[in-house]
Symmetry: C2
């Protein structure tokens, strides 16, 4: 990358800075473009799960969502990295049934749920998870809905499949870039690459979208509103997306992605945020996005949930405080 | 730190370098001192669990280990970050009983075991772990043995307790430094800081130690031999310390630590290694230590276990290969 990653978050233990995280930040205003950047905003990233609201655009724009009468809950979980709790898998089970499809039609793979109750219940019943428990099963249910609507073949994660071609077209539109390619994601779907600033631009489009203006803006509003209305469907209890969106009310839609990507949509400010921690560590992407959301006034920096991500404390097995997070001045001193 | 961390390990997904890890490496020869350094070898680190063989020195040197007839297995688990499998907790249970003590005398805190069989058994029995399952319970059993031998008080993790004072003295001896302080570790014991090269020097002393030469060298030989003889007690099935030590036979003792520290003792070369990934990510410390062990000829770089750490592959929920690790030339081109 042209510009080195910037030092963003430190992890302290007692008097020692034990670990450090560098990364890249892009804050984009729908009217004025890039209003703040740290590190390399032109660098190419794989946005991973933080881009699920882009992957869901064709589901709505094609007419598939309305043709199948999808609810706001279904739109929310189509943008989710859920943790396989009953509230998530029940929704996916009903969705698949509505499509006259089954778990076997998913192509996301089998993942143990991170939800403890769901996991423990299966362990004690001596059974295991299936593809519905995969954190991406909502997104894949959306892909299957579009597949059916398009009367396309079953291998919907193939990069040449009409569903993924539609995703690519939407992706290139909203990032205003020709994607340089894709990586295969944890759920086996292609994940298209873009510059960090292109991804932030896309998030700003969601922020500024107006319902009824056109099909794209209407789809963007429906997806961002679905995420904000159902924080527990987008991730799950105890997870940062859920906890932070709950604290913010309906003021921002945010989404984490693997390898420490984080995206945010802030309608009231017409701003989109994209950030990537260079080493892929989620504790740092959570600290960084929370810090920026605080600077933008959509979360109170002194809120206990916000503080838990920006400063900790870090506790050990006896609940003793052993350390703290610190955002660096480069990140912490920014004001819009 | 005076020198910036060096780029050591990359994580690739398809054609994209998705994440990068920087760090510091010190390779110390018992006779000639520092023979290779990357990044800041003078920088201060908290060696965390990678230093347990130093924390166990007073247990032997005081005569406590022999007075209590400790076995090689007990010495191995005193240096362990075990995963709470039955093989680990049974050993700790017997050890505590031999001391006429109980689980309540430990001060490491309660941790769920990462061993699946142990964890699942407790979940289905509707019971939970206790302090014996803490990954440090072997080290703490050693601390309790020394406490009893010294007729000291029960709060053995207090930095002013005779046990921790003895650890500090040994620490400063083997690193040849006055420690600048300590952090409180996950297990509540103080973890003394040292320079990376001081820690590597200590590991080289273990490598060059000769049984019978003096009390310290004898203790060092007993601890390194215990680790090499019982790789499954030092960590557990599926873990890097266990897997790599098994492949290497009795040619190296290695130990990981939280926040991506790794230490290695190579007797046949009279060499000690200490490395720290700046961002604290274990996948990178595992890749780096494996690469260096390969360069030093104590593991075959083409061994499947070695390759799994240095190159991957990274697979997704459907077992598809999605990416690879790559060590950088700075790390990969070094030859002793």
């Amino acid at each position: 990358m042209a510009h080195a990653a910037e030092r963003l978050v430190e992890v302290w233990r007692g008097d020692f800075c034990e670990s450090v995280h560098h990364g890249h930040v892009a804050v984009w205003h729908a009217d004025s473009g890039l209003i703040w950047g740290l590190g390399d905003v032109d660098g190419v990233i794989l946005p991973r799960s933080s881009s699920k609201m882009i992957q869901a655009l064709p589901l709505i724009e094609s007419g598939a969502a309305d043709a199948h009468g999808l609810t706001q809950e279904q739109l929310a979980i189509s943008c989710a990295s859920h943790q396989g709790a009953a509230v998530h898998t029940d929704l996916v089970t009903r969705w698949l049934a509505d499509l006259n499809l089954s778990e076997a039609d998913l192509r996301c793979g089998v993942q143990w749920p991170s939800d403890e109750a769901a996991r423990d219940g299966m362990i004690c019943a001596h059974c295991g998870p299936d593809q519905r428990h995969n954190n991406c099963s909502g997104k894949h249910s959306g892909f299957l809905t579009l597949t059916k609507h398009l009367k396309a073949g079953p291998e919907y994660v193939d990069p040449d499949h009409p569903v993924q071609q539609a995703v690519r077209a939407a992706w290139e539109d909203v990032t205003d870039e020709t994607t340089p390619g894709y990586g295969i994601d944890g759920c086996s779907a292609p994940n298209f690459a873009s510059s960090l600033k292109g991804f932030a631009r896309a998030m700003a489009m969601y922020a500024a979208a107006v319902e009824g203006a056109d099909a794209r803006q209407t789809a963007m509003v429906r997806l961002r509103n679905a995420m904000m209305a159902h924080p527990h469907l987008v991730a799950g209890e105890g997870r940062s997306c859920t906890k932070l969106m709950r604290v913010m009310g309906n003021r921002a839609a945010i989404k984490t992605g693997a390898e420490a990507v984080f995206a945010a949509i802030i309608p009231e400010r017409r701003i989109g945020i994209a950030l990537k921690i260079a080493d892929g560590t989620t504790r740092a992407s959570e600290a960084a996005i929370t810090q920026i959301l605080g600077a933008l006034g959509v979360i109170d920096p002194a809120d206990p949930v916000a503080l838990s991500y920006t400063t900790g404390p870090i506790r050990n097995w006896r609940k003793l405080e052993t350390g703290r997070y610190r955002v660096t001045p480069a990140l912490g001193d920014w004001r819009p």
